[in-house]
C-alpha cells in the first residue's frame, strides 16, 4: 500500500483549488447569469475532485470514517444537489429574463435598500 500516500494527493488538490478559484472568479466577475451558473458548477466539481482525492489517498490509514467510500458518497450527494441547483438556477434565470429581458447580473440590484 505504499503507493497510496497522502502526499500523492497534492496534484489533485492543487488542480481542485485552481478549478475552485476559477469558478469563484467566474461567479464574482462574469456578468452573464448563465456563465455565473456554470462557474458555480465548476466550483462544485472542484470540490468533488477534492473529495475524491482524499478518498483515494486518505490522510490516516485506518480512518474513523470506516471506509474510503465516504468521499465517494459525498460526491454523489453533491452531484445530485448540483443537478437540482442547476435546474432551479436556470428556472430563475428564465423568470428574471422574462421580466428584465436581460441575463446581465449587474442589472439585478433590487436587493439594495
Amino acid at each position: 500500500m505504499d503507493f497510496f500516500h497522502a502526499h500523492q494527493a497534492q496534484h489533485y488538490l492543487v488542480l481542485g483549488a485552481l478549478l475552485f478559484a476559477l469558478g469563484a472568479a467566474g461567479v464574482v466577475l462574469r456578468r452573464n447569469a448563465i456563465i455565473v451558473l456554470m462557474s458555480i458548477e465548476l466550483m462544485l466539481n472542484a470540490v468533488n475532485l477534492t473529495f475524491l482525492a482524499f478518498a483515494r489517498f486518505p490522510l490516516v490509514a485506518n480512518s474513523p470514517m470506516g471506509s474510503f467510500l465516504s468521499g465517494h458518497a459525498a460526491v454523489f450527494f453533491v452531484i445530485a444537489t448540483a443537478a437540482a441547483e442547476a435546474a432551479v438556477g436556470l428556472a430563475i434565470i428564465i423568470a428574471v429574463f422574462r421580466s428584465r429581458t436581460s441575463v446581465n447580473v449587474d442589472e439585478f440590484d433590487t436587493l439594495k435598500l
Binding site: 461567479v27 455565473v36 447580473v105 433590487t110
Partner: protein
C-alpha cells in the same frame, strides 16, 4: 394682641383684583368700579378700626393666618403685624390708594382696558399691604415681588407701544437686580440667626459682620425698589404708565418700600453703623443728583419723577442718620403731596389731551382752577415752606442729620482690616479719619438740595400754570370732572394737615396735639441709634435756614420764569450751556450704563449663544451625534448595493481572510 381679622386688610383688595381680572371684562362698568373701589375702601375701614384700637394697652395686633411652609428649622408663616408704623402706612396705602382709585374712574374711563387696569391696581394694593404687614421677611418678600410685578404690568399697561413696553421691562429687570440682594440678605439672616421673623431679628444680638453684610444686601434691594443710585434709572422711565399709576406706585407707596424696610429692620441697621452711613451717603448723593436733573427736564412727569427720586433720597438720609421717625414721617407726607402733584399733572395731561411737555403748557390757571390750586398747595408742601406738611418732615431729617451722633465713632476704614497690599497706607490713613463731619456735610448738601427742590418745583408750576397758554390752537384746555378734582382737594387738604404729624414735640407738649406728632406716636417702634439720639437742640435756627432756602428757590424761579416763561430756560442755557444740556440729557447715565453694563452683557450673551449654545450644544451634541450615526450608516450603505456578485466577492474575501488566519498564522 392676637386677632383673627387682620388678614382681611390685604385679602379684600386681592378679592377685588380676582373679580376685576377674571370676570371684569363681562361686568357692567358700574359694578366693576364698585367692586374695585369698595374692596380698597373696606380694607381702609378695617385698617382704620384697627388703628383706633391701638393704644397704651395694645401695642400691636398680630395674626397668624396660616403656616406657609416649614423645612428643618425654617418655619415661614403667613402672618401679619399691625403696629404703629405698619398701621399708619396701611392707612396711607389704602387711603391714598382709594383716592387714586376714585380718580382713575375719571382718568381711565375711556380706555378699553379699564377692567385690566383696576385688576392690576387692586392687586397692587394687596401686594403692598402684604409687604407692609408681613411679620417675617419672606412674607414681606412676597409683597415686595408682588408690587414689582404690578409695577411692571402697569408701566407697560399700553403694551402695544414698544417704548412703554420696554420701560416696563427695564423697571422689572432693574428691580430684579435689587431683589437679588434682598433675597441674599434674607438667606444671610436665616443662616446666621436661624430666623426670618422681623420681631425676632429686631430683638436678636447680631454680630457686626453678619449685620453689616445682611443690612448691605437688603439695602441693595432697597436701592432697586426705592430708586436710589445706582439703580434709580428705571423710575423716570416708569412714567410711561398711566398717570394715576405714577401717583400711586411710583410716588406714594411702592417706591417708599425700601425706606419702610430699613425702618422696619431698624435694629439690624443700628447694629451695622457702617451700612447706616452708606445709606445716608447714598441718599444724599441721590437727592442732589436727581434734583439737579429735575431742574432741566421739560416733561412734567419727568420733573416729578426725578423729584420723587430726590425725595426718596431725603428719606434714606433720615433713616441713615438714625432718625427713623423722620424718614418715615417724610414718607407719609411725601405720599400726600406727591400723589397730589402727580394727580394734578394727570389732570393737566388729561385736560390737554395727552400733552406732557411743559413748553406747550402755560397759563393753565385760567382753564383749570381746581387743579391749579391743589397743585400750588402741594408745591408749597414739597418745597418746605410753612405752613404745609413738607416743612417739618424734610427739615426734621436735615436737623437730625446735622446733630446725629450715629457717625461720631465711625472711621472711614476699619482699623483692624488695613492689611491690604498696595493700598495699605491709604487704608491706614483712612482708618484715622473720623466721620464726625459726615452729618454736617449731609446737612449742607441736603439744604442745597432743598433749595434745588424749591427751584425746580416752582419752575414746573410757573411753566404750567402762569403766563399765557403756549400750546397749539387745536387743543382747548379744560378742567377735569369732579371725580378727579375731589381726590385732588382731599390730597391737598392732607398735604396741609400732615403738618400736624411733624410738629416738634416740645412745641405741643401737654396739649392734645402731642399724641398726634409722629415722633411721639412711634416712640418705642424704632431702635435708638448708636451713640444715642441727638440731645436737645434748638430748632429755631434750622427752621430759619430751611425757610430761607425754600424761599430762595422760589425767588430764583420767580425771577426767571414767572414773567418770562420759557425765556427763563433760554437765559439759563445761555449762561450754563453745557451743564444744562448734560442735565437735560439726564447726565448721560443711561448711556453710561448702556456702554458699561448692557452692551457687554449683550456681547457676552451673544457669544454664549453663538459659541456655547449654537456651536457646542446644538452643533456638537444635539446635531453632532445624529450626524455621526448618519455618516456611519452612509458608509455601511455602500456595502448593501444589491449587487450579488459583490456580496459574493466580499464573502470570498472574508473566507480567504479567515483561512489565512486559521491555517497559515496558527
Amino acid at each position: 394682641m392676637e386677632v383673627s381679622w387682620l388678614h382681611l386688610v390685604p385679602l379684600l383688595p386681592l378679592i377685588g383684583a380676582a373679580v376685576c381680572g377674571l370676570v371684569g371684562k363681562w361686568l357692567p362698568k358700574g359694578w366693576l368700579y364698585a367692586v374695585a373701589l369698595a374692596s380698597v375702601l373696606l380694607s381702609f375701614l378695617v385698617g382704620l378700626r384697627a388703628f383706633l384700637g391701638l393704644g397704651e394697652g395694645v401695642q400691636l395686633f398680630h395674626e397668624l393666618a396660616f403656616n406657609w411652609f416649614s423645612a428643618g428649622s425654617l418655619r415661614v408663616d403667613m402672618a401679619f403685624t399691625f403696629d404703629r408704623l405698619s398701621g399708619a402706612l396701611t392707612l396711607v396705602v389704602t387711603g391714598v390708594g382709594f383716592l387714586i382709585h376714585v380718580y382713575s374712574v375719571g382718568y381711565m374711563d375711556e380706555d378699553p382696558g379699564y377692567w385690566r387696569y383696576f385688576a392690576y391696581l387692586n392687586l397692587f394694593i394687596a401686594a403692598m399691604l402684604t409687604l407692609i404687614l408681613g411679620d417675617n421677611l419672606v412674607a414681606m418678600f412676597v409683597g415686595w415681588e408682588g408690587v414689582g410685578l404690578c409695577s411692571y404690568l402697569l408701566i407697560g399697561f399700553w403694551f402695544t407701544d414698544e417704548e412703554k413696553a420696554s420701560a416696563g421691562r427695564k423697571a422689572f429687570v432693574v428691580n430684579r437686580i435689587g431683589d437679588f440682594g434682598f433675597l441674599i440678605g434674607i438667606f444671610i439672616l436665616f443662616t446666621q440667626l436661624g430666623t426670618v421673623s422681623i420681631a425676632q431679628i429686631n430683638s436678636a444680638v447680631i454680630p457686626l459682620g453678619v449685620a453689616q453684610l445682611a443690612a448691605l444686601c437688603l439695602f441693595i434691594g432697597a436701592t432697586g425698589k426705592s430708586a436710589q443710585i445706582p439703580l434709580y434709572i428705571w423710575l423716570p422711565d416708569a412714567m410711561a404708565g398711566p398717570t394715576p399709576v405714577s401717583a400711586l406706585i411710583h410716588a406714594a407707596t411702592m417706591v417708599t418700600a425700601g425706606v419702610y424696610m430699613v425702618a422696619r429692620l431698624s435694629h439690624l441697621y443700628v447694629s451695622a453703623p457702617g451700612v447706616m452711613a452708606a445709606v445716608a451717603v447714598v441718599g444724599t448723593i441721590t437727592a442732589i443728583w436727581s434734583a439737579l436733573i429735575a431742574t432741566s427736564q421739560n416733561d412734567i412727569k419727568k420733573v416729578l419723577a426725578y423729584s420723587t427720586v430726590s425725595q426718596l433720597g431725603f428719606m434714606f438720609i433720615g433713616v441713615g442718620v438714625g432718625a427713623f421717625f423722620a424718614g418715615t414721617l417724610h414718607l407719609i407726607t411725601h405720599a400726600f403731596f406727591k400723589a397730589c402733584l402727580f394727580l394734578g399733572a394727570g389732570a393737566v395731561i388729561h385736560g390737554l389731551h395727552g400733552e406732557q411737555e411743559l413748553p406747550r403748557m402755560g397759563g393753565l390757571r385760567k382753564y383749570m382752577p381746581s387743579t391749579r390750586t391743589t397743585f400750588l398747595i402741594a408745591t408749597i408742601a414739597i418745597t418746605g415752606i410753612l405752613p404745609f406738611s413738607g416743612f417739618f418732615s424734610k427739615d426734621e431729617i436735615l436737623a437730625q442729620a446735622l446733630h446725629t451722633k450715629a457717625f461720631s465713632f465711625l472711621t472711614a476704614a476699619d482699623p483692624a482690616k488695613t492689611d491690604v497690599p498696595f493700598i495699605r497706607p491709604l487704608l491706614v490713613w483712612l482708618s484715622t479719619v473720623r466721620l464726625t463731619w459726615l452729618g454736617p456735610l449731609i446737612y449742607a448738601v441736603g439744604s442745597f438740595t432743598a433749595f434745588l427742590t424749591s427751584f425746580y418745583m416752582w419752575r414746573c408750576y410757573f411753566l404750567a400754570f402762569s403766563g399765557e397758554y403756549r400750546g397749539p390752537e387745536s387743543v382747548h384746555p379744560h378742567e377735569s370732572p369732579p371725580v378727579m378734582t375731589v381726590p385732588l382737594w382731599i390730597l391737598a387738604g392732607l398735604s396741609v394737615v400732615g403738618l400736624l404729624l411733624g410738629l416738634p414735640p416740645s412745641w405741643v407738649h401737654g396739649t392734645a396735639l402731642e399724641h398726634w406728632t409722629w415722633e411721639h406716636f412711634t416712640e418705642g417702634v424704632f431702635a435708638p441709634p448708636r451713640g444715642g439720639a441727638p440731645g436737645e437742640f434748638s430748632p429755631a435756627l434750622g427752621f430759619g435756614i430751611a425757610l430761607l432756602v425754600g424761599w430762595l428757590g422760589w425767588a430764583g424761579s420767580y425771577a426767571l420764569y414767572f414773567k418770562r416763561g420759557l425765556l427763563g430756560d433760554e437765559m439759563l442755557s445761555a449762561r450754563l450751556g453745557p451743564v444744562r444740556r448734560a442735565l437735560a440729557n439726564k447726565l448721560y447715565v443711561d448711556e453710561l450704563y448702556d456702554r458699561v453694563i448692557v452692551r457687554p452683557l449683550w456681547a457676552l450673551a451673544r457669544g454664549l449663544w453663538r459659541v456655547v449654545d449654537a456651536t457646542l450644544i446644538d452643533g456638537l451634541f444635539v446635531n453632532g451625534i445624529p450626524a455621526l450615526i448618519a455618516w456611519v450608516a452612509a458608509m455601511a450603505r455602500r456595502f448593501q448595493n444589491g449587487d450579488v456578485q459583490r456580496y459574493a466577492a466580499v464573502t470570498a474575501l472574508g473566507v480567504a481572510a479567515l483561512l489565512y488566519v486559521f491555517l497559515v498564522r496558527s
